[in-house]
Symmetry: C2
Subunit: 145 residues, 2 copies
DNA sequence: CTGCCAGTTCAAGTGAACTTGAGGTCAAGG
DNA sequence: CCTTGACCTCAAGTTCACTTGAACTGGCAG
C-alpha cells in the first residue's frame, strides 16, 4: 500500500476529510499527489496525525504544532518547549484538582445553600482569585452543540 | 455601601466592564438601577461573579452557568450536575497527567528522533486513540493575541 | 453654564478550529 | 456512453466568550 486516498486516511485516523483538507491548507500535513481529483497521502500521514492529536491534547495550538515540523517535514520538536508545556499542564492539573474536589464537596455538602458552606466559599475565593486555565469544551461535546 | 457602579465592580472583581455588560445581557448578573446612565449593582454581584468564575474554571459554559440560577436569582445548583462535572474533570485530569508525563519524557528522551522512542510512540497512540479534552488556551494568553 | 470623561447602546469584529454549501470534475460501473 | 457518487474548490457560516468601534448621554468639576 504505497499511497492512501483521503477517504482511507479519514477512515483510519478518524479525522474527517474536511479536517484533513483544512490541515493540508494549514501546512500541517501534505498530500503526495492526486488520482483524478483525489488527494493521495503517504501512509506516514497517520503518524503525523497522531502527532497532531498529541499536540492538541497537550494544549498546543495548530500554529504551534505547525512550527514543530521542520521545513523538510520531519518532526523537529523543541524539548524546552515540551518541558514548558508539561509545566503548564502541571499547573492546570493542580487547579483542576482543586476544582474537582470543590465540586465534589459541593455535590454532597449538607449546607442548605452552597453560599452558606465555608468549603464552598473557600473554593469560590480560589476560583475568583487565581486566574485559571479554562478547560473549555471537548471536541466531542462541541460537536453536540 | 448600598450600590456599586460598574467601574467599582470591575475594579473589585477584576472583570472588565464590557464583560459585565455582556454578562448582564446574557442574564448572568443583574443591575439594580441606574445613576444617570450608569448601572448600579448590588454588592452581592461579587459573589455571583465568583460563582461564575468557579463555573467557568470547572468547565461549564456560560449557558450552563446561567441555568444554575433559579429565576428568583438565588443559586439553584444541581448537585448531580456538580458530581457529573467532577467526574468529567477527573477524567480530564487523568488524561492530562498522561500527557504531561509523556511530554516530560519526550523533553529528556535520548532517542535521536522522537519517533524512534518507544515511550513517545506509546504516548502517540494514547493521544490518537483516546479522544481527549482539549485544554485550550488561557483567558490570559488569549488576551495577548 | 459648559465641556469633559466615563459611562451608554448596538452592531460588528476577533480568533481558533473546523464545518457546510454551492457548484464543478472525474474515474468507474452498468 | 452516460450516470453516479465521492471527491474537488472557494467562500461563507458556526460556536464561544468576549472586545471594539462609532455615535451618543449625562453627572459633575470648574
Amino acid at each position: 500500500m504505497r499511497d492512501v486516498d483521503i477517504a482511507e486516511v479519514a477512515e483510519l485516523s478518524g479525522v474527517p476529510a474536511s479536517t484533513l483538507r483544512f490541515y493540508e491548507e494549514k501546512g500541517l500535513i501534505a498530500s503526495h499527489g492526486r488520482r483524478g481529483l483525489r488527494r493521495l497521502f503517504d501512509p506516514g500521514v497517520l503518524d503525523r496525525l497522531a502527532l497532531i492529536a498529541l499536540g492538541r491534547a497537550s494544549g498546543f495550538s495548530l500554529d504551534e504544532i505547525a512550527r514543530m515540523f521542520a521545513p523538510d517535514g520531519k518532526p523537529r520538536i523543541d524539548r524546552k518547549m515540551l518541558s514548558a508545556k508539561a509545566d503548564e499542564l502541571d499547573r492546570t492539573i493542580r487547579r483542576l484538582n482543586a476544582m474537582r474536589d470543590g465540586l465534589r464537596h459541593a455535590a454532597v455538602c449538607p449546607a442548605p445553600s452552597h453560599m452558606e458552606c465555608p468549603t464552598f466559599r473557600r473554593l469560590l475565593r480560589v476560583a475568583a482569585a487565581g486566574k485559571m486555565e479554562t478547560p473549555k469544551t471537548t471536541k466531542k461535546s462541541r460537536r453536540k452543540l
